[in-house]
């Protein structure tokens, strides 16, 4: 039982990661791929934040009467990673807009066929 309480968080997060990962590699529509990428990354962020959690801890901002703080380092790392994620999303979506204009479709198998024709 304690085994489950120790790890349930990580297991669900792994499931979420894999759901996102599946969307990325299976989706044919590019927008959906980008959504999947975001879900994948957000779930990885959850794993990091779980690492930093201390039971009965509090947010790492100095306050009176609080002695246990959660670990601020994963928070910092993930702040950076979130920014990196949105930057990637923006470039990816801009590429999709251009692909739509050039090929008239955002379905991967359709423009693959068109690529082969050239």
């Amino acid at each position: 039982m304690s085994f489950i309480i120790d790890y349930y968080n990580y297991w669900i997060v792994v499931f979420l990661m894999m759901a996102g990962f599946y969307i990325v590699i299976s989706a044919n529509n590019l927008v959906k791929k980008v959504v999947g990428l975001n879900i994948f990354q957000t779930s990885v962020f959850m794993m990091y934040i779980s690492i930093g959690k201390v039971t009965n801890g509090s947010a790492p901002i100095v306050a009176e009467g609080i002695t246990t703080y959660s670990n601020p380092l994963p928070h910092v790392l993930i702040l950076t990673a979130i920014v990196v994620g949105v930057a990637t999303t923006a470039v990816g979506l801009a590429l999709i807009v251009r692909i739509k204009r050039a090929y008239g479709t955002v379905e991967e198998n359709e423009f693959k066929d068109k690529d082969d024709l050239i």
């Binding site: 590019l30 791929k33 990885v44 590429l95 692909i99 693959k112």
Partner: protein, 511 residues
């Protein structure tokens, strides 16, 4: 007064220059500025290379916070070699880029090109210099993000799909690395590479550490296009602008190889990765398959840039093969090939770019009869091509020689044989192009037209690389010493009997 700060400059100089490039507005101003900054970084890198050869490791505490609390920059011979390659090639490519991108990229985007190029340089230098695992991820993303932009700048619409595929694969790779770093942090509580190495050594066969290693290796393998995760590379290199292909082919994957070396040898320790986890066998098999499969793919393509791209994947196979031999000679051969391959692939892609500049096509048909019409360009292509094959007196020969030596040292006779066979495939795909250029009549693409030699600004960097190919093929003292120092330094962690040169060590004694 900046001597102690030299370490941070190859990252900060291009980082500051990139936004200034945007503010400069004028294309040629941005060009001059970017080239000067890149050249400056190159001189600093060479200076650092000599410093590391003399003093071993240099480190620097960013923000004045000592490690592991702050971010530490560390450079040893291995990173200094790759750093010199990256900054050097970047400078040459920038010189080359002026004429090349004038033809291939819309003029309103020139400043953006230079800015993205400098950001990419920032990222690559950052990866090489940093001594912090998470910081490495951040710089990896700077370089990747600017790379996607650079690839998508070409006028051919297929560059867009290539860039998108690259983006998806690259982000998956980066996220895998992020997962791996997270798992290491979870067990050790630190992100500094040396500190990680010390603390990981305490765990033996821990499942979380093992998984972390696996995820990092897969993530880095995507970034370095190790077979079978290389599918993003051929389209990206084929459809990117010529200057970008030349830059990426000779730097981006090399830096990824460096990251793999860093994680295997410095952080996890060769003993753990190779003897506990048996990664050497997996890497060796993948490397050999990559050499054969992709060399073969290169022989059947008609687009010359695709040929070179597949050839790149095959050459990466040689580098990984060097790593997987688990000896200081093998690692040295791998590092040497990183250095030499950058010289040859840079020259080859520049030559192809020059052909595209004059003819507007990179199909093998466009090359027919070019030996007479563009003699200097084709001569450069021929010499660099011979170097890829591994003909004596070229740089390519030196690294293959050491690779074969290393394989024989470890009693891997078959591997040594396969390396030689692999070179024969290179003869086929380079030979095809040379045959077209020198022995065939001009095709309908070029027939009856007078084709001028490439502009001088494109020829100079191309020939500098070609001469470097010959120079480092004859006088190997600098490159071999550097690679050897780096390899000795990195393989310290391998137990003594396996590092030294004796050829009596067999597979059985290792186990």
């Amino acid at each position: 007064m900046f001597e102690q700060h030299l370490l941070v400059l190859p990252i900060v100089l291009p980082l500051i220059a990139a936004p200034i490039c945007i503010l400069l507005m004028k294309s040629h101003l941005a060009w001059v500025f970017a080239t000067i900054i890149s050249g400056l970084s190159f001189f600093i890198s060479v200076d650092l290379l000599f410093a590391t050869l003399e003093q071993g490791v240099l480190n620097y505490a960013v923000g004045g916070w000592e490690s592991p609390w702050g971010i530490e920059l560390r450079i040893d011979a291995a990173s200094a070699i790759v750093l010199s390659v990256v900054t050097g090639i970047s400078t040459l490519v920038l010189v080359y880029a002026k004429e090349s991108i004038a033809k291939e990229i819309d003029s309103s985007r020139h400043t953006l090109f230079y800015s993205a190029h400098l950001l990419c340089l920032t990222g690559l230098s950052g990866i090489l210099i940093t001594g912090d695992a998470f910081n490495l991820f951040v710089f990896l993303e700077i370089s990747s993000l600017s790379t996607y932009t650079l690839v998508s700048l070409a006028s051919d619409k297929r560059c867009l799909t290539a860039a998108f595929r690259y983006l998806v694969m690259g982000t998956i790779g980066a996220t895998f690395i992020l997962i791996g770093v997270g798992m290491m942090y979870m067990k050790t509580g630190t992100l500094n590479m040396l500190d990680l190495a010390n603390r990981i050594a305490e765990y033996d066969g821990n499942r979380t550490i093992n998984t972390g290693l696996a995820f990092i290796l897969v993530g880095v393998s995507i970034k370095l296009a190790l077979f079978p995760l290389h599918m993003w590379l051929p389209p990206a290199y084929t459809h990117a602008p010529s200057a970008v292909s030349a830059f990426l082919a000779s730097t981006a994957t090399k830096v990824a190889v460096y990251v793999m070396i860093r994680f295997i040898f410095t952080i996890y320790g060769a003993e753990y990765v190779f003897f506990t986890m048996d990664m050497d066998i997996i890497l060796m098999v993948l490397a050999i398959v990559a050499i054969f499969k992709c060399s073969f793919m290169a022989t059947v393509q008609s687009n010359i840039k695709t040929v070179l791209a597949y050839s790149s994947v095959a050459q990466i196979g040689y580098m990984i093969l060097g790593i997987s031999l688990v000896s200081s000679t093998g690692l040295m051969a791998g590092l040497l090939h990183v250095f030499n391959h950058a010289l040859m692939k840079g020259a080859l892609f520049m030559a192809v770019g020059a052909v595209f500049y004059r003819i507007g096509s990179v199909d093998i048909k466009a090359f027919q009869g070019l030996g007479k019409q563009m003699p200097l360009t084709m001569a450069a292509f021929a010499i660099a091509g011979l170097s890829i094959i591994g003909v004596p007196l070229t740089a390519g020969f030196v690294s293959k020689w050491y690779l074969v030596t290393a394989a024989i040292e470890q009693q891997h006779w078959i591997v040594a044989f396969l390396v030689l066979i692999g070179s024969l495939l290179a003869v086929v795909y380079i030979g095809r192009i040379l045959e077209a250029a020198y022995f065939k009549k001009p095709s309908e693409l070029t027939e009856g037209k007078t084709i001028k030699e490439a502009p001088i600004l494109m020829l100079i960097p191309m020939w500098i690389l070609v001469i470097a190919n010959i120079y480092f093929g004859i006088d190997t003292s600098l490159s071999v010493t550097a690679a050897d120092t780096a390899a000795q330094w990195l393989t310290q962690s391998i137990p003594e009997p396996f590092v030294s040169i004796p050829s009596v060590v067999t597979e059985e004694t290792i186990k």
